[in-house]
């Protein structure tokens, strides 16, 4: 079995035992990237020499008997939205094409502290706005299971990198489903922690009350290992929680006795692909056979989640993206008449269509005369959506359902219909609105070999529950052991 077929947990054991060096592991992934990424196009910035230098440094530390971190020697791919000191951080946008952050995001510091190897930076929808990674200004990442299809978005590069065995672990970000949905489409595990579980310091902001950073991997155990490293208090993020970080990597393997799984009947209505429905229900049956009880729960206002999300998220985005004005960093237009014209032309030239659409929508819903009717109204509905979840989680431990209504769609299929694109997030946005954690776990394939994801969500700070339930599923299924049939060069 080659190195790139192993899980992160296995690689860490082999590295610790001295069976293999980090240079060997990193080289295996670099070779794989060189062999496959011209087709998959997950990586925006990849420098094998720098990756191998980091690997060699960890190997030297290990040989010298120094204490090593929890990810020592393991390569990790990072979504290009996390500031990494001295490295191009473009957020998939032309407006930041030459931006070199002068500091590391908190999670990047955590990776460095734990001796991970920063393998490279992966593609995304521009400023994390999108559900297919087609909004990247740089590349169209392909789904490794079918190169004519999208990998999902906005963390499409993160999902595809793992699914194509180009990285054992990756980091994505999730504002309305952007880790969980691509994970589902690409047959890997992707988790969005509770809002505030992971520091957003250095995460280029899209929607400040919704954004969270999350791990992606083949297995739930691997995701637990990475989450344990990323999570925790950071005084530089005033919105992050002070709570202790549980030992996710240890508790993940313990099944939950007397597990109660909530099913929302409306999640299985029209618009849901029958093969997705069937795979999701089979996965729930697997959990039933392990003793879980199914309880019907109601989320009466969940159907308003997309409308609520596209008001709240765009409003916040319009504010967060106001900083891209050509003054301090990023693109500045070459021709303009005065300062305001400089702002307008810089932004008009630097932003893509979807970003402009969302800035416009967000600006409108916050503008005088419309703010109460749209933005405040949406925040009120948001509270009701959250209350529905709180009530449901009094009765059940997790809510299970599909992560997306269909398997991965074809490139170009939804680019001309923004609303159709938005509706593919229907199962995931409510989790972000409520600030709850959610995870996508592979639960099957369509007849044509496209992955299907099971979405599990829990109440606030229910990460441990989600990881344990996800592991309960993976220990009785082998969906996560299948690999796409990518032709070797």
């Amino acid at each position: 079995m080659s190195l790139i077929d192993k899980t992160a947990a296995e690689l860490l054991r082999h590295l610790a035992a001295g069976d293999v060096t980090s240079e060997q592991v990193t080289k295996a992934y670099c070779d794989r990237i060189e062999a496959q990424d011209s087709r998959v196009q997950a990586f925006l910035h990849f420098d094998p020499r720098r990756a191998l230098e980091q690997a060699a440094a960890v190997d030297a530390k290990r040989r010298a008997g120094h204490k090593l971190g929890k990810l020592a020697g393991l390569p990790v791919a990072v979504k290009d939205v996390l500031c990494t000191r001295g490295e191009r951080t473009s957020c998939g946008s032309k407006i930041l094409q030459d931006f070199l952050p002068p500091y590391d995001a908190h999670v990047i510091s955590r990776l460095r502290d734990e001796d991970a190897v920063l393998l490279g930076r992966v593609n995304m929808d521009e400023f994390a706005m999108g559900s297919s990674t087609e909004n990247s200004a740089y590349a169209k990442t392909r789904n490794p299971w079918d190169l004519e299809r999208i990998p999902g978005g906005s963390s499409g590069g993160s999902a595809a990198a793992v699914a194509a065995s180009m990285a054992p672990l990756s980091i994505g970000t999730d504002t309305g489903g952007s880790v969980r949905q691509p994970a589902g489409y690409c047959g890997v595990v992707g988790m969005k922690p509770t809002y505030g579980r992971v520091s957003r310091y250095g995460l280029v902001a899209f929607a400040s009350s919704l954004d969270q950073i999350g791990p992606m991997a083949w297995t739930v155990e691997d995701a637990a290992i990475l989450l344990e490293v990323l999570a925790g208090h950071d005084p530089r993020d005033a919105t992050c929680a002070s709570r202790e970080v549980p030992e996710y990597s240890k508790t993940v393997r313990t099944p939950i006795e007397g597990l109660k799984i909530g099913i929302v009947p409306e999640f299985f209505g029209s618009g849901l692909d029958p093969q997705v429905e069937s795979a999701v229900k089979s996965a729930i049956d697997v959990l039933k056979k392990q003793g879980a009880k199914i309880v019907e729960v109601a989320l009466p206002r969940a159907k308003y989640a997309i409308a609520t999300y596209y008001i709240v998220a765009t409003a916040e985005a319009s504010s967060n993206l106001a900083r891209y004005d050509g003054v301090h960093y990023g693109w500045r237009s070459l021709e303009f008449s005065d300062m305001v014209d400089m702002y307008s032309r810089t932004r008009g030239e630097g932003f893509g269509a979807e970003v402009k659409r969302r800035i416009m929508l967000g600006t409108f819903v916050l503008s005088a005369g419309y703010r109460d009717a749209y933005y405040v109204k949406a925040l009120q509905v948001r509270r009701l959506i959250k209350e529905d979840f709180d009530r449901a989680f009094e009765k059940v431990d997790v809510i299970a359902g599909p992560v997306a209504p269909t398997p991965a769609f074809k490139l170009g299929e939804k680019v001309d219909d923004p609303l159709a694109m938005y509706l593919s997030d229907i199962y995931t946005v409510s989790t972000n609105l409520a600030g709850n954690p959610g995870i996508s776990v592979p639960c099957g394939f369509t007849k044509s070999g496209l992955p299907i994801g099971l979405h599990l969500q829990a109440g606030s700070f229910g990460e441990e529950t989600l990881l344990r339930v996800g592991h309960m599923l993976q220990s009785h299924t082998d969906w996560h052991e299948r690999r796409p049939a990518l032709q070797e060069n």
């Binding site: 002068p102 004005d325 409108f364 509270r383």
Partner: protein, 94 residues
Amino acid sequence: MFSREQVAKVASLARLHLTEEETGRMSHDLGAILEYVDQLNEVDTSGIEPLAHCLPIQNIFREDEVRPSLPVDEALANAPKRSGDFYSVPPILD
């Protein structure tokens, strides 16, 4: 419905220069999205406090102690245009 005039007004607020073609598409796209989000009017929200932030924390401050910050050169390293220790921009006042 979202008219071209409304598009122009919002684009000006957002400091976003749009071409004629972009304005037309924006009018269409925003019109469709706003029609979709109108369904929120079905929800009875009387007496409901808006929820802007999910974590029950407030007023996170730190002690007013001086800490190291970015050296000027690093802070200005990405400046599109620099003049000494300043970001150089077009005149703000005539």
